[in-house]
């Protein structure tokens, strides 16, 4: 078409050209974003991984003084059946002196009847320092405060799972859980 008639030199319409540049760049940027989103999002947790993120546990099987260790989605959790002495030890602490002040009752969840069962303590099994799994009654080593001891960098937790000594910054977190019945709990991530 352009061959058919010689074009005379004309001035470039800068505004039209700017518009084309901006439109082209904007479209490309939006396209790049749309391409990047699935490429990045595919690395997030998959549907089946998310689905495997809660578990119901029968706590009546945990013997007094012992603990049950469960993995949910690869994360460890401790369910500990505390002795009377351990409950007293957890209660009998001046909370204001703790690195991460929390009372023992703060760390329990109510039964369906809205009472508390201080014998059962449920905590995360991941040391809040660098993510090691502390040893406890299962391994026969409970640290200076009778709860758990992290062998990686020497954090001591008490019988309420609270940090008492060592580099860990906070208490063992209480997971998101509830009593389905007085003897069954459901832990969700």
């Amino acid at each position: 078409m352009s061959d058919s008639q010689p074009t005379k030199p004309e001035s470039v319409d800068e505004e039209r050209r700017d518009f084309i540049h901006i439109a082209a760049i904007a479209t490309t940027a939006a396209g790049a974003g749309l391409v990047a989103y699935p490429l990045i999002d595919q690395m997030n947790a998959a549907g089946d991984t998310k689905a495997a993120s809660s578990l119901e546990i029968d706590i009546s099987k945990v013997e007094v003084g012992g603990e049950l260790r469960v993995l949910i989605g690869g994360k460890p959790f401790f369910i500990r059946h505390r002795t009377a002495a351990e409950i007293t030890a957890a209660d009998d602490v001046d909370i204001s002196l703790l690195p991460d002040p929390e009372s023992d009752t703060d760390r329990l969840r109510p039964l369906p009847s809205n009472d508390f069962n201080p014998a059962i303590l449920v905590t995360s099994g991941t040391c809040t320092h660098l993510g090691c799994v502390p040893v406890g009654p299962s391994q026969g080593l409970v640290g200076d405060f009778g709860g758990w001891y992290c062998p990686c960098h020497g954090s001591h937790y008490d019988t309420s799972g609270r940090i008492r000594k060592g580099p860990a910054p906070t208490n063992l977190p209480i997971p998101n859980y509830e009593y389905v019945t007085p003897s069954v709990i459901k832990i969700s991530l």
């Binding site: 990045i40 690395m43 997030n44 947790a45 998959a46 991984t49 998310k50 993120s53 260790r69 993995l71 949910i72 989605g73 690869g74 994360k75 460890p76 099994g125 320092h129 660098l130 993510g131 090691c132 799994v133 502390p134 200076d144 992290c150 062998p151 990686c152 960098h153 020497g154 580099p167 910054p169 991530l189």
Partner: protein, 490 residues
């Protein structure tokens, strides 16, 4: 130097035909045969070639291992054992690959220290240095990803410690962690992506290596005298045969050491814990990374104090990444115009102190931070007895003796006496004697590490009086031959 005239002459009809279409033989000839290279390069300059060999060895053995390896948490550990026991020469391929990683890092550290000593990061070679830093960073990432693949105890829990570092980032840390892991914790999906990326990164390294060599060939090699080539005729020799032979000899010596490790000591640099299959419920008592990451691990653990609102954990992460990041700034932190430390008498001493600090940081990283550096200087632990008297007053008594056993016996007797008196809550504990621990040493060395880059090098360049540099490489070589002090010190 890219400026030099091409001397390649196609010898036959085919090479003439090819040269006018794809001058690849010309490129190789100009880059690796007739490339003018300073005539005074010493053996510290052979590590570039050695590193190229290392990368090739890792890629070849890695591709072979991938033919037999299964990236699945239920099968990964067993598939590695199968490689070791059943696959023909699988044990050889895997030993070369694992030992190869260590040899790769050994060579790269020597290569980097050489660059630091002879001022290889200075103008006009800043981009060359930056690309080298990128390669080093990619190497660390690749080694970290690869260490998870055997799915042993150290693979899982080491990776867990490092990935948890990202959790220290405020606000977005937990999301980033979940995104990296593809779930709430390290699982099958994590192993699969680590495998995929471990396979990818070496090829990215290879790409950056090509850029690194390109950036080397534009200004040409540096050299131990630190003066630039002035007369190509007098100052340089062609790369082949002079440096192909010199590099070749160094490569052979390097490969002999490599072979000794592969055949006689394949596990000497590894950890026994990694021959136990990964178990998320049991953490090994002493998590340590591979030796080549120990200095950075020591820096991470050295930060045990908060600064303002920034918590120690995050600060440690920042310090660890900054210890690598600061290398990228080196060309602009080192203010001295004199390249070679041969002519920088003060900087030279700080350089050797820096090398020593790097090695000692590695020692700190391998040790338990609370252990004493000098066990013989550590005093005896004291025994502390706590009790509550029948009238309700609490008290503590400390027993300290030359020998711990004496303190213990005294404390034990006191404890029994208190119980007999009717005191309650009587406990006996130990109080560790104060001593100089690896944590303290790591904190001092971390301070020196950053001071070297951020204070010493910038200030020294302005304050130090350098010795007289030689006029030219040619003159320096001749002076050295005559036994003059200038070049003979090396």
């Amino acid at each position: 130097m890219s400026g030099h005239e091409s001397t390649y002459k196609p010898g036959n009809a085919f090479t003439k035909w090819l040269d006018s279409r794809l001058p690849i033989i010309r490129l190789a000839s100009d880059s690796f045969i007739d490339f003018p290279t300073p005539k005074n390069l010493n053996y510290w300059y052979t590590f570039g070639g050695i590193l190229a060999i290392c990368l090739a060895i890792q890629i070849i053995t890695g591709v072979i291992l991938a033919m037999h390896y299964t990236p699945d948490v239920t099968q990964a550990f067993a598939s590695v054992e199968r490689i070791m026991r059943d696959v023909p020469f699988g044990w050889l391929m895997r030993n070369i690959h694992t030992v190869g990683a260590s040899m790769f890092f050994l060579a790269v550290y020597i290569h980097m220290f050489r660059g630091l000593y002879y001022g290889s990061h200075k103008a006009p070679r800043e981009v060359l240095w930056l690309l080298g830093c990128v390669i080093f960073f990619l190497m660390i990432a690749t080694a970290f990803l690869g260490y998870m693949l055997p799915w042993g105890q150290m693979s899982l829990h080491g990776a867990n410690v490092i990935v948890n570092l990202f959790g220290a980032i405020p606000l977005v840390g937990e999301s980033i962690k979940a995104w990296l892991l593809g779930g709430p914790s390290i699982g099958n999906q994590t192993l699969q992506r680590f495998f995929s990326l471990h396979y990818l990164l070496p090829f990215m390294i290879a790409g950056v290596v090509i850029l690194h060599i390109w950036a080397l060939h534009v200004p040409g090699n540096g050299n131990p005298e630190g003066v630039e080539v002035k007369d190509v005729e007098k100052d340089t020799v062609p790369f082949h045969p002079y440096y192909t032979v010199k590099d070749g000899f160094a490569i052979v010596v390097f490969l002999i050491i490599f072979a000794v490790l592969v055949f006689y000591l394949p596990n000497v640099l590894g950890h026994a814990d990694n021959y136990i299959e990964a178990n998320p419920l049991i953490t090994p008592s002493h998590i340590v990374p591979e030796w080549y990451m120990l200095p950075f691990y020591a820096i991470l653990r050295a930060i045990t104090f908060d600064i303002g609102p920034i918590q120690a954990k995050l600060l440690g992460v920042i310090a660890m990444f900054a210890s690598i990041g600061v290398l990228f700034l080196l060309p602009w932190l080192d203010t001295s115009k004199v390249k070679s430390m041969r002519y920088r008498p003060v900087a030279r001493q700080f350089f050797f102190a820096f090398v020593a600090a790097g090695l000692m940081l590695g020692w700190c990283g391998a040790s338990n931070p609370d252990d004493p550096v000098f066990p013989s200087l550590k005093g005896a632990d004291a025994i502390v007895v706590e009790f509550t008297d029948p009238d309700g007053t609490k008290g503590t008594v400390t027993f300290k003796e030359k020998r711990e056993i004496d303190a213990y016996e005294a404390g034990d007797a006191f404890q029994e006496q208190k119980i007999a008196e009717g005191a309650t809550g009587v406990t006996l504990g130990t109080q560790t004697a104060k001593t100089f621990t690896f944590l303290h040493l790591a904190q001092i060395l971390t301070g020196f590490y950053f001071a070297y880059f951020l204070i010493i090098l910038p200030l020294l360049g302005l304050r130090e009086t350098p010795k007289d540099e030689p006029e030219s490489i040619h003159k320096a070589v001749l002076a050295g031959k005559r036994g003059s002090a200038a070049a003979a010190t090396e």
